[in-house]
Symmetry: C2
Subunit: 158 residues, 2 copies
Amino acid sequence: MTTSTTERPIVRPDLLAVLEDGGYRITEPRRHVIAALDMKDEGFTAEELCNELTSVGRATVYRTIKLLQKSGVICKLAMPDGAPRYSLARVDHHHHTVCVRCGTIGEFKHATIERLLRAVSQEVAGEIVGHRLEVFISCTDCKDPVRWPVDAEFGHRH
Amino acid sequence: MTTSTTERPIVRPDLLAVLEDGGYRITEPRRHVIAALDMKDEGFTAEELCNELTSVGRATVYRTIKLLQKSGVICKLAMPDGAPRYSLARVDHHHHTVCVRCGTIGEFKHATIERLLRAVSQEVAGEIVGHRLEVFISCTDCKDPVRWPVDAEFGHRH
DNA sequence: GCTTTAATGATACTCTAGTATCAATTAACT
DNA sequence: AGTTAATTGATACTAGAGTATCATTAAAGC
């Protein structure tokens, strides 16, 4: 762990801009939360972030996560067992690949999903208002044990 | 509510066969659970089932749900807010349409998803081990208020 | 019918993922 | 520097979705 939580963290201006745009104040705790999640390329849980950011209160971490989520800065997604996990949104409209071993979350955009939705909309008696697509992978050379088996709980091989 | 929970329910033989095949006993409580969920074409929660089946204990309802899920008889899926919901599996390999108003769960099969996965597998550094796809709809003439907005919590319009 | 072993039910418990409260603090604006 | 409203943090609380326990009951096979 390299991030000190006492000194003022350096935060990407575009992430701070999100706060400004939303009419939110730029505070020390929020700087710390943003700095911490910006360093991550794996997914993370809210509790993990709490444990790392010892100088920021738990409630504030949760509040900031929610705020950033509403602003589109981070995505909330569900692991195979339904456990929530967050990741920084880098691409605009995208879906996620999730390693069921190490929890690393990747992003991809694909035109095919739009085609799929158009096709489904023909068959469906109603209006499509959203969708959820997650692709579970086992990333190359991953040495971790499987933490989120896809056949547990939710029927994911469908 | 037409299902009495005291008299012996009539259960589709193919659903009972699932129990036999798994080496499980065919018991009265299990008959009742199966009969109840077979009558549903909307999704349901475990608690809802518990409340309907007053003659069956809560633990048994949960145990039976888990058993049937493992046997592939019912699917567990997540609503936009992450809340689990079950539905009887009618088609073999399929995905779900979920009405965010009334909670009705439909099934669809589509070849495009296989194409999509093949395309994604080219781009991804790892092996695809599963996926999750849910299409959220507002079903035709649905009069219910929106119970599961797609923009709450999880980023579902992605 | 008897035996054995699985299954049940009442209940208490657990765990996760938050939200609520509210006095103390602090960012932003003047 | 002073004002004010947003924000914070410590902590308690909640809700949902199950799981554990264990004495009692009831299927299945003989």
